[in-house]
């Protein structure tokens, strides 16, 4: 495209607006994830007033990260909401992870649209510093559910959710198997299958933890929040945005 004299000021204006927006995003207050390593990658934690997306397959640790965030919030005497479209929330497991269940509002909507409506109602009340929306596989299978929203309809749901979160000024985490919120997310964390850590004591053996493979694709600590950093921890997380394999860094080994 030929650059004309008329387009140069416009492009300059767009660039300045983009930089101002990026600066505003960097200044946005953050809420700790409950994990120092992930907080460092996200520049202090989840951005408030924006949707944070945790994507990954089963056993990737996305639920563990969400529970860690929630546990940290309840430890600060805050109340949180867990909107469980996947109907997978396990109270005993969350309590064992440090969550104060008396400070958790658990809602089990039945469909994607109902889940977003539920999120809007909860966010409208205010006072829930963290709202987790566990979509499970619903975001992927929505098109196969009779009467569900399609294409443009799903985009409207994402927009409604993002606007509700922005109005409320709190942290909302969406758990999905594949990215759903997309560019509307303030932070996107992609997890790969984690490594099991086993505890032993004599002949006794138990599942002690999961070391996740984490990659921040959006909302990272450095550079433009919209571009992400590709930063990660855990086992090699596969090709980064630049196509290069990351050096293996296993924390906690």
């Amino acid at each position: 495209m030929m650059m004309t004299c008329e387009s140069a000021p416009m492009l300059r204006g767009l660039r300045e607006a983009s930089e101002r927006w990026a600066q505003r995003e960097r200044m946005r207050p953050r809420l700790t994830c409950g994990m120092a390593a992930l907080d460092a990658l996200l520049g202090g934690g989840w951005p408030q007033g924006r949707v944070g997306e945790l994507t990954g397959p089963a056993s990737s640790g996305r639920s563990g990260v969400a529970v860690a965030t929630v546990s940290a919030a309840t430890a600060r005497d805050e109340v949180v909401a867990w909107l469980d479209l996947a109907d997978a929330f396990n109270p005993a497991s969350a309590a064992a992870a440090g969550t104060d269940l008396t400070r958790v509002l658990w809602v089990r909507p039945r469909g994607l649209e109902e889940a977003v409506r539920t999120a809007e109602l909860v966010l409208e009340v205010g006072g829930f510093t963290v709202t987790v929306l566990d979509l499970g596989s619903a975001a992927i299978t929505a098109r196969t559910v009779p009467g569900s929203t399609r294409g443009r309809g799903r985009g409207a749901l994402r927009l409604r959710l993002a606007r509700a979160v922005e109005r409320a000024g709190v942290v909302a985490l969406v758990l999905t198997e594949r990215p759903w919120v997309g560019t509307l997310a303030g932070a996107t964390v992609v997890l790969g299958r984690g490594e099991a850590r086993w505890g032993t004591c004599g002949e006794a053996r138990w599942l002690d933890g999961i070391v996740p493979q984490v990659r921040v694709e959006r909302g990272g600590a450095r550079h433009d929040p919209s571009a992400g950093t590709g930063a990660s921890f855990g086992r090699a997380a596969g090709p980064s945005a630049s196509g290069e394999r990351r050096e293996r860094r296993v924390l906690g080994a």
């Binding site: 056993s59 005993a92 205010g126 933890g209």
Partner: protein, 510 residues
């Protein structure tokens, strides 16, 4: 002892105007009953200008002033006004007593340090009465009778200790009669004697008055001398506040009824404010056309003085379950609760506003079902995977300030903190219901496991964890659980049901 007496002049008139604000400037005459021969008890200034007087019959009042409205104060309105007056007094002292309709006594001892003077106490009491919609008078004295006499005498009268006789002396005997209500023959005798003031009665020897007038005369003489000694016994604290109204034209639509209910709730809100309390449990009673009756119970997650929130909850219930007939009258009964600050300290965690939260919970229950909203819990049982769902309530503030969780702390179990910083606690995503699993077991433990496209060869495991219980009941359980890691990276919780001899997957660790 110091007693304050609150008196609402023309109480039936004020009670009706309080419950029906649109009659605030109407020429009203309040009758004792609905019949034409019933006596007019009190009249408004506008009706007095038209020539209506107390003591006329209702028929006479209508004849003298056809424009005047002759009404009977509904019992609900009178009871509500009476309770409102008691609430106004209760905001100053828990020791109060409802002496008569429109008259409340309270123990004013010990209030001077708070207000500075008894005159100030009197003015604040009158302000509190105006806040609940009543124009009252107040008298403060050393005894019940003297305080009541003072209230009958003026708007805010304080009788200094030791000055009771001097205060009462110039007062007309009619005032003492209004306070003590002696028998008609005693009144007649006093008139025959030519006595017109309390001072004149006080100069008579008490023994002679007692001989001729009996106990009534003795009581009048004591009051005139400032020696009345009736004990002040306060009423027990009320637990329920009530406001009610009856309508002339039955209401058949939701919006007009909610408008009516909002007036009742607003009056209750002002009374609750005096007590420092809020709506906690609300019972909405509806008297229906044809004699029917409906009740709706509303409970907030925490006490709050937010009328819109209660109204929103009432709307949801009425829309879900309409009364089925037009409404002729309604009453709202409130069990109050102490209103908490939603944020106990400047640095405390923000919490949802109780009123908004209650309305939102009601909407969520209507949207997803009441059995799918609440606070999760772990019951006291050994049954694996058991959970409970209870109504969500705002948690109590912790006794001590909870330290912020350092950002570099691990999400650790309360009992162990050995995990390295980047390790997550294994959180189970439950399968509801548990999913059948295809398992190849070797020596009693899984060697290959597949569930819904996940799984494969088992590369790590822990278990078995054996659970047996409730064998005495209808739903016993006996199972062995394994936590397994499979070659594809899945971490599963498998369970072998020893009663059904089948493998299940309870969930996947994530």
């Amino acid at each position: 002892m110091r007693v304050a007496a609150l008196l609402v002049p023309d109480f039936p008139l004020q009670a009706l105007r309080r419950s029906t604000p649109e009659l605030a400037e109407a020429p009203l005459a309040i009758a004792a009953g609905p019949l034409p021969r019933d006596e007019v008890l009190c009249v408004s200034a506008e009706a007095a200008e038209l020539g209506v007087r107390a003591g006329m019959t209702a028929a006479q009042a209508r004849q003298v002033a056809p424009a005047a409205l002759v009404r009977v104060t509904p019992a609900e309105a009178a009871a509500a006004a009476d309770e409102a007056l008691a609430d106004a007094a209760g905001g100053f002292s828990p020791r109060s007593r409802r002496h008569a309709p429109g008259e409340v006594l309270l123990d004013a001892g010990g209030l001077v340090p708070r207000f500075g003077s008894e005159q100030r106490i009197g003015h604040e009491l009158l302000r509190a009465c105006r806040h609940v919609g009543l124009d009252a008078r107040v008298g403060i004295a050393a005894s019940v009778g003297m305080a009541r006499l003072a209230a009958h005498h003026g708007e805010a009268v304080v009788v200094a200790p030791g000055g009771e006789r001097e205060f009462a002396a110039p007062l007309p005997l009619a005032l003492l009669r209004a306070v003590l209500e002696p028998a008609p023959e005693t009144v007649t005798m006093l008139a025959r004697w030519g006595l017109t003031t309390a001072g004149e009665l006080a100069r008579l020897p008490r023994r002679e008055v007692a001989l001729r007038l009996g106990p009534d005369g003795t009581a009048l003489h004591r009051l005139a001398c400032g020696e009345e000694t009736a004990a002040f016994v306060p009423d027990p604290l009320r637990e329920v506040l009530r406001e009610g109204v009856e309508v002339d034209d039955p209401i058949g639509a939701l919006e007009p009824f909610l408008f009516l209910a909002s007036g009742l709730l607003a009056r209750l809100e002002r009374r609750l404010e005096l007590r420092g309390e809020g709506f906690f449990e609300v019972l909405l009673e509806m008297h229906l056309e044809g004699g029917g009756h409906r009740e709706y119970r509303i409970k907030l997650v925490a006490p709050a003085r937010e009328v819109p929130a209660v109204l929103a909850l009432a709307r949801l219930q009425l829309e879900a379950s309409p009364p089925g007939a037009a409404v002729e009258g309604a009453a709202v009964l409130v069990t109050p609760g102490r209103v908490r600050l939603t944020q106990g300290s400047l640095f405390g965690a923000p919490l949802p506003a109780p009123g908004k939260l209650s309305a939102a919970l009601a909407r969520l229950a209507a949207l997803v079902g009441p059995d799918r909203v609440g606070a999760p819990g772990v019951p006291d049982t050994h049954r694996p995977g058991a959970w409970t769902l209870t109504p969500f309530v705002l948690p109590e503030d912790r006794a001590s300030v909870t330290a912020h969780l350092p950002p570099d702390a691990s999400p650790v179990s309360p009992t162990t903190d050995h995990r390295p910083p980047a390790t997550l606690h294994p959180v189970l995503r439950a399968f509801r219901p548990p999913r059948p699993a295809r398992v190849v077991a070797v020596n009693g433990r899984p060697a290959v496991a597949r569930v819904d496209g996940m799984g494969g060869r088992v590369v790590g495991w822990a278990g078995p964890y054996r659970f047996v219980g409730e064998w005495w009941g209808d739903d016993p359980y006996a199972r062995e659980e394994f936590d397994v890691a499979t070659a594809d990276g899945s971490l599963l919780r498998l369970c072998f049901d020893r009663l059904e001899h089948r493998w299940f997957a309870d969930g996947v660790y994530d």
